[in-house]
């Protein structure tokens, strides 16, 4: 018995003895005392199929010894287990890292080393293939094909694809293919050696291979790997881990590969259906599938074909009894020569005889499994085809036998391509010796015939290889032009024999994976990468002169102002009301006005009106029935709304804020249940949670903008929770609402904003109609749909109003309060030290810097006296809550912030019938935000100038930059 423990010994000596292979892991054979699978010589199986098979089974079961019939045994292979699979993958992964990173020039000599050792071992390998059942003529061709594949032409072309270098603009540009890494190979079970040989090319790309061999015919393949590939790898100094080969159960290996993170590619040879399944499994597992599946090759024989040569090529169909994927399966024969070709072929096919594989006159191989042979011939007969040869099952002596291992070579002729398409033998690949001649019905016109035949080939579902026999350049051109659906075309050539430059494998359709093409494993297991290295400073970008290409579209606000706007400054250089400087600091102006012109006719961007600044006047105007809130009855209100689309203006401005009693009272009654203090108190936990969560996000930063970090998101969150609406984009909607509450005249896209608000309202209402909840919109929907208390317009208008009224005041009171405290560090410290101070403190903060210094524009329905001044009927009123809250007649020393001040009655939430419905929730929001910010952000101090938002009615910050001491972890909360 000869084992493989001396891999450098002359291989030819072993071929006649018993070859014994252990698992090959990382280039070395692992000693193994496990189970063996035995390979019995094909000649023994052919001679006595039943006896030899039984002996092999007894050997594999360990019930008999090789010594019983040593002459029948070719060799044996140790069965590898799960541990071996793992070890092989790990070795491959390690080796791939090194080998894949080595230079192409280090890897390239492997092709020559392998080629040269393969040449030296060619006879032995051929011998082993014969012992595995390959007829010697076929075996020689197969080894020759492998030599051609590793020959200089193919290798050089592939290496060129692997790497090209260029220079451009002072850069070295490298286009190279980098290896995928670990490639696992599952060769076909019947004839693995040559597939494994081809797969070995992927090592040249820098990959490491793990090969799984079937238990049926592992010997030649193992020999090829252990005796030829491993020494070749040693020749070029490759890390031994790049090659492992194991004989195992196929499912076990595939499962392990798909599950292993170490595997990159799976190179699989097998049938088309299993291949498709495997492709999906590979992709799901993140592996690249490279599939070599079935073939159903066709040969076109044109009328001018050299018939002798064409017949010889068609006879290749029977080599190896049709088990080779790329053997001709169907011949498409020009009707003009069909009869002669049929006669010649029939004679040749009938002359084929079974025999032993070492007989050079034998091309047929024993096929223990001929499933489908009888059925296919029966199908052909049923479909009206003629079976010209074949149909019997023969033993090696050519006698029919019930334990036959040869299928009699079959030849089928079918006339008419339409009928041909129905034949099983034409539609699907076969694994037995059968060639179908498909002859088109004669038509007068050769051009038509050519179209029909070429189209038949081009629409084949398999994609390996197709051939043509003709002397006409025109026909060749047509064939080459139109048959693009396969990996390889042969014209006037052997269908089987290897050709330099061409690979023996690969194709699209049912023959491969979705990326199937002529398969050079070196290329298919690598991927293109581009590299650019700047050798000198990259050329400077050309200095292009700045040419504004087109005017940039920009929508400007309307900015149409009434006569008299902008007004002149007040005496002493004080800014006039509503001007930009006024917004920055309104109080000096308001004080001066209150003192000198407490009821003053002023000009606003919405036209003229009477500005009230005294506490008593403002408060009285809130309860005076001659004062209207209906913007459509107020000149300034109409002006404010003038840029809204009229349809929306009329429909939506029917809400609470915009209506007078008695309708106002009715609307308010509907909403009141939702705004009881007890009800509003429920929001406290949520508010607290939102504030805490927001501060969690910034606490470690030490500085930030309290508006963006706390106030804005809090306002939005509370508002939409109350409404029960779910804005898809909170910040977009928040910013949009903000702008609609501003000075319409100064807001670009104001009509579009109005439509957006309307769209949101419609969607929110529809949403709540579909699935109502415990929220304000649902309550309003019920009032509309069930109780009929409000109109659809009022429903929509009220929701719109809430969008504005429910958000900005909260945001402003949070921001203004914090701003006021930051400007008064002693007060801030007092509040931080005693959080209960917020009880009185918040009212003072709201008084001191009221979030809404103005109410919406009001108007007089009749002449009204305010002190000594009578405001005529139908005029506009600007009620300044901010001024009233700083009236010294009501609040002594009003510009001083004093959190201990107990003077009640500030007007920050309005007064009377229109007193803010959400006052409680607004106050609570501000309380929670202010106390939490102070508690969580120690050492809070201003870190930059705050910015006020320009706004007609509101006073609120857009930015409040602050810094604080970053608390040590775990010390807060």
């Amino acid at each position: 018995m000869v084992t493989c423990q001396e891999p450098d010994g002359p291989a030819t000596d072993h071929a006649d003895g018993l070859l014994s292979f252990g698992p090959l892991i990382g280039g070395a054979t692992v000693p193994d005392a496990g189970d063996w699978v035995y390979a019995v010589r094909a000649s023994a199986l052919i001679d006595d199929p039943v006896g030899a098979t039984c002996y092999r089974n007894a050997l594999n079961a360990g019930r008999m010894s090789p010594d019983a019939h040593p002459e029948t045994i070719l060799g044996r292979c140790a069965l590898a287990g799960g541990d071996h699979l793992d070890a092989a993958l790990r070795a491959a992964r390690d080796a791939a890292a090194e080998w894949g990173g080595s230079a192409r020039d280090r890897r390239a000599p492997l092709a020559e080393a392998f080629h040269s050792r393969l040449r030296d071992h060619a006879d032995t390998l051929t011998g082993l293939l014969v012992e595995e059942g390959h007829p010697v003529r076929l075996a020689r061709t197969e080894v020759a094909d492998l030599l051609t594949f590793f020959g200089p032409e193919t290798t050089r072309w592939c290496l060129r694809q692997m790497e090209t270098r260029h220079t451009a603009d002072g850069r070295s540009v490298l286009l190279r293919r980098v290896p995928d890494g670990v490639v696992c190979v599952q060769p076909p079970q019947n004839t693995p050696a040559l597939s494994v040989g081809a797969a070995f090319q992927s090592v040249l790309a820098g990959n490491a291979l793990v090969v799984r061999l079937s238990r049926h015919a592992p010997i030649a393949a193992m020999y090829l790997l252990e005796r030829i590939a491993v020494p070749a790898l040693a020749d070029v100094g490759a890390p031994p881990g790049v090659l492992s080969a194991l004989c195992t159960d196929p499912a076990q290996a595939l499962d392990a590969w798909l599950a292993s993170p170490l595997v990159d590619d799976v190179l699989y040879f097998g049938d088309s259906i299993r291949g498709e399944q495997l492709e999906r499994a590979c992709l799901a597992a993140g592996k690249k599938p490279i599939l070599e599946l079935g073939g159903n090759d066709m040969v076109v024989v044109w009328r001018d074909a050299p018939l002798d040569q064409a017949v010889a090529a068609l006879m290749e169909s029977y080599h190896g009894s049709g088990q080779i994927c790329c053997a001709p399966n169907v011949a498409l024969v020009h009707p003009e020569i069909a009869d002669e070709l049929t006669d010649r072929l029939t004679d040749r096919v009938r002359a084929l005889r079974p025999g032993f594989p070492d007989d050079p006159g034998v091309v047929l191989a024993a096929t223990p499994n001929t499933a489908g042979y009888d059925a296919t011939l029966a199908d052909a007969r049923r479909a009206g085809a003629r079976v010209l040869a074949g149909g019997r099952h023969l033993d090696v002596n050519g006698h029919e036998s019930d334990v036959a291992v040869f299928a009699e070579p079959a030849l089928v002729r079918v006339d008419g391509l339409g009928r041909a398409r129905e034949l099983r033998s034409v539609r699907y690949e076969t694994f037995f010796p059968l060639l179908t001649l498909a002859v088109p019905h004669p038509v007068g016109d050769d051009a038509e015939l050519l179209t029909e035949m070429v189209s038949f080939v081009a629409t084949g579902t398999y994609g390996l290889r197709n051939s043509l026999w003709t002397r006409s350049d025109e026909v060749i051109d047509r064939f080459v032009r139109d048959v693009r659906s396969c990996g390889q075309l042969r014209v006037n050539d052997s269908h089987l024999a290897g050709v330099p430059f061409l690979s023996n494998h690969g194709g699209p359709g049912l023959s491969g994976d979705r990326f199937g093409e002529l398969n050079y494993p070196m290329l298919r297991t690598s991927r293109l990468q581009g590299v650019s290295v700047a050798r000198s400073a990259p050329p400077a970008e050309a200095d292009l002169p700045y040419v504004p290409a087109q005017p940039r579209p920009r929508v400007e606000a309307v900015r149409e102002y009434p006569p008299g706007w902008p007004p002149e400054e007040l005496p002493g250089g004080l800014p006039a009301p509503f001007t930009e400087a006024f917004h920055h600091d309104p109080y000096p102006t308001l004080h001066w006005l209150r003192e000198h012109r407490p009821v003053s006719r002023v000009i606003s961007p919405d036209g003229p009106g009477w500005l009230l600044t005294r506490y008593d006047d403002v408060r009285a105007a809130h309860t005076d029935p001659r004062v209207t809130c209906d913007s459509k009855r107020v000149p300034a209100g109409l002006m404010w709304l003038r840029h809204w689309p009229s349809e929306l203006r009329e429909r939506l401005f029917v809400h609470l804020l915009d209506s007078d009693d008695p309708r106002h009272g009715e609307l308010r009654a509907i909403m009141r249940p939702f705004f009881t203090p007890a009800r509003q108190e429920q929001w406290r936990t949520r508010v607290q949670r939102v504030v805490e969560a927001r501060i969690d996000r910034i606490v470690d930063r030490g500085s930030g903008d309290l508006m963006a970090s706390v106030a804005y998101p809090l306002g939005g969150n509370v508002l939409f929770s109350v409404l029960g609406a779910t804005p898809p984009q909170m910040s977009h909607l928040r910013a949009m609402i903000w702008r609609t509450a501003e000075w319409n005249n100064d807001v670009p896209y104001v009509a579009a904003l109005a439509h957006e608000v309307d769209g949101f309202v419609r969607a929110a209402v529809a949403d709540k109609r579909r699935s109502p909840g415990d929220d304000l919109i649902s309550l309003l929907v019920r009032a509309r749909d069930q109780d009929g208390l409000i109109s659809e317009d009022e429903l929509h208008g009220q929701v719109m109003m809430m969008l504005v009224a429910g958000q900005d005041p909260s945001i402003n009171s949070v921001g203004n309060s914090l701003h006021a405290l930051l400007a008064h560090p002693d007060q801030l410290a007092a509040l931080r030290d005693d959080p209960t101070l917020i009880g009185t403190g918040l009212n003072e903060l709201l008084r001191y810097e009221s979030p809404l210094p103005f109410t919406s524009w009001r108007g007089t329905l009749e002449p009204i006296e305010f002190g000594e001044v009578t405001v005529p009927a139908d005029d506009s009123l600007f009620l300044c809550l901010g001024a009233a809250n700083r009236d010294p007649a009501r609040f002594p020393d009003p510009d001083r912030l004093d959190l201990y001040r107990t003077a009640p009655g500030h007007l920050a939430f309005g007064h009377g019938a229109h007193y803010c419905l959400g006052a409680h929730i607004g106050r609570m929001t501000a309380e929670a935000a202010v106390t939490t910010v102070l508690r969580r952000l120690p050492g809070l101090r201003p870190s930059g100038p705050p910015r006020w938002r320009p706004s007609m009615f509101e006073r609120g910050l857009s930015v409040l930059p602050v810094a604080w001491d970053v608390p040590r972890r775990g010390t807060t909360r």
Binding site: S721, T726, P727, P728, Q729, M730, S731, R770, G773
Partner: protein, 88 residues
């Protein structure tokens, strides 16, 4: 599938993929602004949400659903459209 069931499922997914405490999540919660979720987490969640809810959430739609509630609404509406037909 009711709105609250969809919300519960989303909370569970947020806990699973984003390590987010379900108690901190309601319909107004914004995935990025409030929870600071990674876009990768959102893409994974979208893929899983498609499976669990049995609705398609194309990227261009998912891109615009910033808040938990908007996803609930989208899923609810997609489901009702599929079941409904005779509805509105």
């Amino acid at each position: 599938m009711s709105r609250s069931e969809i919300l519960a499922e989303l909370k569970a997914m947020l806990a699973e993929f984003g390590d987010v405490d379900p108690q901190l999540v309601d319909e107004q919660t914004a995935f990025i602004a409030d929870l600071g979720l990674d876009s990768l987490v959102l893409v994974r969640m979208t893929v899983v949400a498609e499976e669990r809810f049995g609705v398609r959430i194309p990227d261009e739609v998912a891109w615009e659903l910033d808040t938990v509630g908007s996803v609930v609404s989208y899923v609810e509406e997609s489901l009702s459209r599929r079941i409904g037909a005779g509805g509105e």
